[in-house]
């Protein structure tokens, strides 16, 4: 421990901590812009300047190590003046049309300017020319709003291991973007939107489907149904000032009904369906491998996360046969809604509009993949992020916090607790185990409160194994088999895991992959800014949602059982194969 003084107060700081970390530990706030927790500081923005006695210049708190005997001032006139000047300079280059910006009232630069009491900008100079890149289905980049903090660069290369973004050029003309300022669709971007999630300003955002959804809702010839991913209910409240981790399932349902959707449904329904299909697929692969001695691709990887699918198609095509052929719950929902449900209510698929509320930007890409038309028309029409839904609710003048709790509609609104936890890293694995273990042994998964603790939490790569004993006759070939499992989130971790599998250092039977850190609760479409403290709270909220339900196992979902009985037949049956499963193709990594 080092002993130092901050603002006249003697404090202790652990070895290796920066001034910023030392200050935060004792509740002293230093503003930051480019800083991202747990990542190497870049010191690009200079907003965190502090005065260190004896130092010639002001120091950037994020990148200066705290040292014994340091005497630091975070709030001296010199510091305030410098910070203000730094922000004024940023503002002088920034396209500050705040009133009509996507980030109005949700912008770190705006907040900082307000906090520092900036009332005029002393510098008048050139502004970067606006160049809008809307080349991808998921993301829009506006260069004139970029303050070149490089958070997106850090997250894309270090957290996601993709490296699609980097500063190009030099000085005033620097552009943060793909190689040689190409558009995003010219490079192997997986469209996860983590760049948009960490952008402090309006330079990177999701491509909005809000107007299209308003239009659909106004169209009397259309039946407009909505599905909500489990991660939304643990985060939407943040758009209305709630603490992270506030559960707003009921209010969200009421809000969607008020907005005018004809059916308010749950992606949980098809998450349960996914477990039925994917669980059966896994058990079938295991049987082929263990009994028939066939060479089948193992481990099997989950396929719910469209950023991961893109990542595999671009960077690891050799693993494509290992991906579950199951569509994601979003796409299964679209296919089931426009066939089974449309028939039930007597609506033609072309007269039905399916809108998804997703924590994700890559879902916007996924819904327009050419394979996703198995109902005869596009299975999912529009995808709104959590943030976009928040905006629509505000625009409609709905007082969200005073809404009564609503209930989702039957039959596609019924979901289990196992489906809720799809939102968390480790959740799909846990949901799969709850069902698979019970099918194979006839007994409930023998874990406390049905939770698979070793695969929960924010560790990047988690492993577990389950020894199967006491099998029912149909699955006796699994008797005594140790099923090896891994759970991984954040694509840089995925890269590490895949490399170790390739080298033969690791082997598993089943691997859950989620693109974003923390899983969908930390998705690129969630309210900003998501750090680990927020992730932990949303994860806890999702587990609480699960625990609060009587129905906690996917195979016990009666609406799903009915779907099989009335329409699909059996898991992996012909109709399932046609509607619920898909193919992948290798894409050149450009």
């Amino acid at each position: 421990m080092y002993k130092l003084t901050i603002n006249g107060k003697a404090i202790e700081s652990p070895d290796g901590a920066t001034i910023l970390e030392a200050a935060r530990r004792v509740g002293i706030r230093i503003p930051t812009l480019c800083f991202l927790e747990k990542r190497e500081p870049v010191g690009a923005c200079r907003v965190c300047l502090v005065e260190v006695a004896g130092a010639r210049t002001l120091m950037a708190a994020c990148s200066t190590p705290a040292a014994n005997g340091m005497d630091i001032k975070t709030n001296s006139p010199r510091v305030r003046a410098a910070r203000r000047q730094v922000v004024e300079l940023l503002l002088s280059e920034h396209d500050g049309n705040c009133q009509i910006c996507d980030r109005n009232q949700d912008c770190e630069l705006q907040e900082l300017a307000s906090e520092l009491g900036i009332r005029e900008i002393a510098y008048e100079g050139e502004k970067a020319k606006a160049r809008i890149d809307d080349s991808t289905p998921a993301l829009v980049r506006d260069n004139s709003k970029c303050i070149k903090c490089r958070r997106c660069v850090t997250v894309c290369s270090q957290v996601q291991g993709v490296g699609a973004l980097h500063p190009q050029g030099r000085g005033f003309d620097t552009v943060i973007g793909p190689a040689f300022t190409l558009d995003l669709d010219g490079v192997a971007c997986v469209q996860c939107g983590q760049c948009a999630a960490v952008c402090p300003v309006g330079a990177i955002s999701e491509k909005s489907h809000v107007e299209a959804v308003w239009k659909a809702l106004e169209d009397p010839t259309k039946t407009v149904v909505v599905q909500t991913a489990p991660a939304i209910r643990a985060a939407l409240g943040e758009c209305f000032g709630c603490e992270p981790g506030t559960r707003v399932t009921g209010k969200m349902t009421s809000a969607l009904r008020t907005l005018g959707f004809n059916g308010v449904f749950d992606t949980n329904f098809t998450a349960d369906l996914t477990i039925m299909e994917e669980g059966t697929e896994l058990l079938t692969r295991l049987k082929k491998a263990l009994v028939d001695g066939e060479k089948v691709p193992l481990p099997m990887f989950t396929s719910c996360s469209p950023g991961w699918i893109n990542f595999a198609e671009y960077y690891y095509p050799e693993f494509l046969p290992n991906l579950s052929t199951c569509k994601s719950p979003q796409q299964m929902f679209g296919a089931v809604a426009k066939t089974y449900y449309a028939q039930k209510i007597g609506v033609k698929p072309e007269d039905m509009i399916v809108v998804s509320i997703m924590p994700c930007t890559a879902k916007k890409f996924e819904c327009q993949r050419e394979e996703m038309n198995d109902s005869g028309v596009r299975d999912v029409d529009y995808v709104l992020t959590t943030r976009e839904l928040g905006r629509m609710i505000k625009e409609a003048g709905i007082d969200f916090m005073s809404l009564e709790d609503g209930k989702m509609d039957a039959p596609l609104g019924l979901g289990s607790g196992a489906a809720d936890i799809f939102a968390n890293t480790g959740g799909v694995m846990e949901a799969a185990l709850r069902t698979a273990y019970e099918i194979v042994t006839g007994r409930t998964l023998p874990m406390e409160n049905l939770h698979v603790k070793p695969v929960a939490g924010l560790e990047g790569i988690k492993e577990a194994s389950v020894v199967i004993t006491g099998t029912v006759p149909a699955w006796s070939f699994l008797e005594g088999v140790e099923v090896k499992l891994a759970v991984v989130h954040g694509l840089a971790n995925v890269r590490r895991l895949l490399e170790s599998i390739k080298l033969g250092e690791k082997s598993y039977h089943f691997v859950e992959v989620m693109t974003c850190p923390g899983g969908c609760i930390g998705g690129g479409g969630q309210p900003r800014l998501t750090d680990d403290s927020v992730r932990v709270k949303r994860i806890a909220a999702i587990y609480a949602e699960d625990e609060g339900k009587a129905l906690r196992k996917s195979h016990k979902n009666e609406a799903v059982q009915q779907l099989y009985k009335e329409f699909l037949g059996a898991p992996l049956g012909e109709k399932s194969h046609h509607l619920l499963h898909t193919k992948y193709k290798s894409k050149p990594a450009l």
Binding site: S157, V162, G163, H166, P167, Q168, R170, A179, F180
Partner: protein
């Protein structure tokens, strides 16, 4: 600094395939070195005259760095070029000392004489024009470089003569 890195007269008109097949050997010793990327880029440009997309992608793979990062380095330094250059790269310094001693006028004269703008190459592929940011010869300002030759205290009116010397050396050499 890699030796002879700025020389771009070594080879001309190589096909992409030829460049790629020569590349491994050229950059081999830099691949595992910290900070090896810039010398590798210099060597490659020195040999090929410019850095093609294929060459840059191969370098990015060899160094296990994202292509965006390699492109970032290439676009940061005005020295690097991603398009074929002329046999002689003329670089006018616009660093502080050269700037105040008439570097801009020298640059204008070069543009006029060559009939091209900064970043362009003459039709006969003899000259390319670039701007430099200090060659470390401030006492001799204004300075221009033609490939590795430094020309000091350049007068705008003498620029034509200076270029002619290269052009006629070329003619003499090829006849």
């Amino acid at each position: 600094m890699a030796e002879n890195a700025t020389c771009c007269v070594c080879s001309e008109g190589l096909t992409e395939q030829e460049m790629l097949s020569q590349l491994d050997e050229l950059i081999e010793e830099y691949v595992d070195k910290p900070g090896g990327l810039i010398p590798a880029l210099q060597i490659a440009q020195g040999r090929f005259g410019y850095l093609s997309e294929g060459v840059l992608k191969k370098i990015s793979a060899a160094f296990d760095k994202p292509y965006s990062e390699v492109a970032g380095v290439v676009s940061f330094y005005s020295f690097f070029s991603t398009v074929p250059r002329g046999k002689y790269v003329v670089r006018a310094c616009l660093g502080t000392a050269c700037y105040v001693r008439g570097g801009k006028e020298v640059l204008s004269a070069l543009k006029k004489q060559l009939g091209i703008d900064v970043g362009e190459t003459t039709e006969d592929r003899l000259f390319s024009l670039d701007v430099g940011r200090c060659f470390g010869a401030c006492g001799l300002a204004p300075v221009i470089m033609v490939n590795d030759d430094v020309h000091q205290r350049v007068k705008p009116s003498k620029v034509g003569e200076l270029l002619k010397a290269y052009a006629s050396a070329e003619k003499g050499g090829t006849q």
